[in-house]
């Protein structure tokens, strides 16, 4: 309701200001034949900006400070002796009761007389302050409107002013990306730092036992948080995934870019890329209900003890997921190798496969390595397939047929969203996240560097 009123007010102000600036500008150009610097819509926008900014500032100030003022008002309404008799929690509960009395929803239990009066007072206070804010915003807007309107002359460079505002808005938008990175780093580092006040970093990075105890008693018993079992699990699954994705993806890219008829390529390439668009949870389900049982049955057929949820299951399905990633990156890279190299090889009588193996691949090698590193980084950060199909068994072992746990799985298990960030049990998620972030960042930066160097080489 309140936000609707405010939105309506702002819209009315906006329309009014634009219209007023626009008509003023038209008046200028028709009245005395002077050449007007800017076109009418710029004058309109100029006045609109002048009008909206003060109104917005007042509303923003209220949104920022209003809560504190209301809080103080409620406290002033509660009898002093009651305030003194209550501790912080009790006071907050009383304030919450008064607030909900003021909204008219009512509260549970008996309503004390002072609560009722405070609630009534709060209701009228809220109404009056809301009115004041709306009126103040409107007045400020209208004053600014009149001022800006008065400034409109034929020589006013309204377009330049409006364009400057647009420029600033664009800059603010591109700052969002930076802010995101800053936010990621800041939240990971600060929460991870809190975690390291509980657990020594050495115990975390070089510990071989992962056993977070969920005892809520606190004290010394935090459990053990060794990263190594998770790291080994992550690397094992990544390795299996790359063993699947690299040969298939690379050979598919070579066939599509060098051998395939272009009509075949036009059909096959999008179909393979469908794999890249499928949500990872779908791959996870596929791994859990189809690939896992199949591998287990296959294992028992050949006498291997393969668990249904294992590093192998998750790794193979993750490999399938990464195939289009490897193949389209490699395809791009292969196409960037200059034709002259290939033609030279053909001229010497080399067959197509000899050209590819001895000329094309060595020339494209740095780029392809970069592509592989990007694929590795994606595999390391992949979550849902592993959550569903890797079995979540954080034990340090090297057998791919057994269940494992990875960094991402442990993040999901430790941070379920409904826990507070008080203990190391949930804070460890941020230390793991930081580790993951650093690993993938290094891989990405290195890979992008290699790919860029490769591109420059042939430009």
């Amino acid at each position: 309701m309140n936000s609707l009123v405010i939105a309506g007010l702002l819209l009315v102000l906006l329309g009014l200001a634009y219209q007023s600036g626009w008509s003023r500008s038209r008046g200028l150009s028709t009245a005395n034949g002077v050449k007007v610097h800017s076109r009418p819509q710029y004058h309109g926008s100029y006045v609109a900006i002048w009008t909206l900014v003060p109104a917005l500032i007042i509303i923003a100030l209220w949104a920022w400070l209003g809560d504190g003022i209301t809080h103080n008002f409620i406290v002033s309404q509660i009898p002093v002796e009651t305030v003194q008799s209550l501790d912080q929690v009790g006071l907050n509960a009383t304030i919450a009761r008064i607030r909900s009395l003021a909204t008219g929803y009512g509260v549970a239990g008996e309503i004390l007389p002072y609560e009722q009066t405070a609630g009534d007072a709060l209701r009228s206070f809220q109404f009056i302050t809301f009115l004041i804010v709306v009126v103040a915003a409107a007045v400020a807007g209208i004053v600014a409107l009149l001022y800006a309107r008065g400034r409109i002359t034929a020589r006013l460079r309204a377009r330049n002013a409006v364009e400057r505002v647009i420029n600033i808005a664009l800059l603010a938008c591109s700052a969002v990306a930076i802010l995101t990175t800053v936010g990621i780093v800041a939240s990971l580092v600060s929460e991870a730092y809190k975690f390291f006040t509980f657990i020594h970093p050495l115990d975390f990075f070089f510990g071989t036992v992962w056993n977070p105890s969920f005892s809520s008693t606190g004290g010394a018993a935090h459990g053990q948080y060794g990263l190594l079992p998770l790291l080994v699990g992550t690397l094992m699954i990544t390795l299996i995934a790359m063993l699947v994705a690299v040969p298939v993806g690379l050979m598919a890219a070579i066939y599509l870019s060098q051998y395939a008829h272009h009509s075949f390529r036009a059909v096959a390439k999008p179909i393979i890329e469908i794999l890249a668009g499928i949500p990872t949870i779908v791959f996870g389900f596929f791994a859990l209900v189809t690939v896992g049982p199949f591998l287990r049955d296959f294992g028992s057929l050949v006498g291997l003890d393969i668990k249904a949820t294992s590093a192998l299951t998750a790794g193979i399905v993750m490999g399938i997921m990464i195939i289009p990633f490897v193949s389209s990156l490699s395809d791009d890279i292969l196409n960037q190798v200059p034709r002259t190299l290939r033609d030279g090889a053909y001229g010497l009588g080399a067959t197509k496969s000899e050209t590819i193996r001895n000329v094309l691949l060595p020339a494209a090698l740095p780029g392809i390595v970069g592509a592989f590193l990007l694929a590795v980084s994606r595999a390391v950060g992949e979550t849902m397939i592993v959550v569903l199909a890797a079995g979540n068994s954080p034990v340090l072992r090297g057998n791919p047929f057994e269940p494992v746990a990875t960094i991402t799985v442990s993040i999901v298990n430790q941070l379920t969203g409904d826990s507070d960030f008080a203990g190391p049990q949930s804070l460890v998620a941020f230390a793991l996240g930081l580790t993951l972030f650093v690993i993938t960042l290094c891989l990405n930066v290195f890979a992008l560097y290699i790919v860029r160097r490769f591109r420059e080489q042939y430009e």
């Binding site: 938008c173 066939y255 393979i272 668009g277 990872t280 496969s353 999901v412 409904d418 960042l441 930066v445």
Partner: protein, 454 residues
Amino acid sequence: MTDMLSTGQQASIDRTRLIRAGLRKRHLSENIFKGLGLAAIILALGFVALLFVDIVRKGVPAFTQSNLHLAITYDPAILKIDPPPVRAAGQSDADFQAANLKWQRDLAMLNWNKVIEASLRAAAPAGLEIDAKALLSIAETDARHVVREMFVANPSLLGQTVEVELLASANAVNWIRGNIDRSLGDAQQQLSASARTLIDEFVANGTITNGFAWSIFTNVDSRSAPASAGLLGAFVGTLWMMLIVIVLAVPIGVASAIYLEEFAPKSRITDFIEVNINNLAAVPSIVFGLLGAAAFINYMHLPISAPIVGGLVLTLMTLPTIIIATRGALLGVSPALRQAALGMGASKTQMVFHHVLPVTFPSILTATILGVAHALGETAPLLLIGMKAFVAAVPATPLDQATALPVQIYLWQGNENRNFFEPRTAAAIMVLLLVMICLNGVAIYLRSRLEKRA
């Protein structure tokens, strides 16, 4: 004859033979290499086919539900209830509301299971020994709510008999479809032997029939009544999040791409921003979930498991995609267009907004739809901001508790009633994939249409 040839000719023949042999070997390896490439393609295409066939094969059965046709008698002997309150003259609104509420509370206290049990017993063949628990295990547990709601809507039903279509229970469905091994002994079966016999009887005489499972689309998630669990709540939650992503990510993404590509001075700072965006695009999605948990929930105290937090996290995740695509599109606009605009006296801002941006519209639209499609399937970050809580309501605003389609899939695949929920999870995946295919189709269609016009 051979000794008549000169040594030179002999050498030439030898060399030809050698080359022939070598060529045969080289062509063989050529064919092997080519074959390997083809095999890789076939393998990749096979994986796509296998995935889809597997999901569809598992999911299609879940789109049919087993309906139980029963004649329900609202027997006054079981339902001992006064007639609903009638508004007396002069009665205040609040008093009438209170009386009405009391009546509904009384209704809820009645033994509706008894009504269902009676009608099941009436439908069962005479002489079948079956106890009340086994009888009730055939109908889904929400049956009593359905029957009660009908009575609330029409209190004159008391004493009458009506034909009602109820859902068969999840365990009954498992038994009918053979999701559970029929040859297992009594101990491993969820249903008692008498209930299983009666179900077979019902299927034979048409009391239980199959119909299209509209409940998947019209119901919210349910734990107590799995057969009635649907996707509506998750679907609306996803819709809210996608709305937030579109409203925030598109303007911000396009604006920052315009700034970086058209206005920003080439300096170390813009270089840094560029590297930063490229890296952000490759940050694992789960890290965005950590950011959401720490910044939006823990620091800003936004509500937990609400679509607004999910939408914000997915917005930040989608931004780099949109920025990179828009920059690519802007870069592709011909310089002639720019120079013509500038030559006609347009300012730089006018040139960008009036002439360059409209040309890139198809690419931006496509990138947006693809980015949204990607965000639609994202699960991991949503788990971290608490969206895996069980929510049995349609979120009315973005601030309400909600879940999302991919998270619903995650929740269903983890349900204990595996036999029933495995097909249902596959069905939910089919719905999700259908939405994504539609989005991608729209993107391709719009792109081809707009590019033709441009």
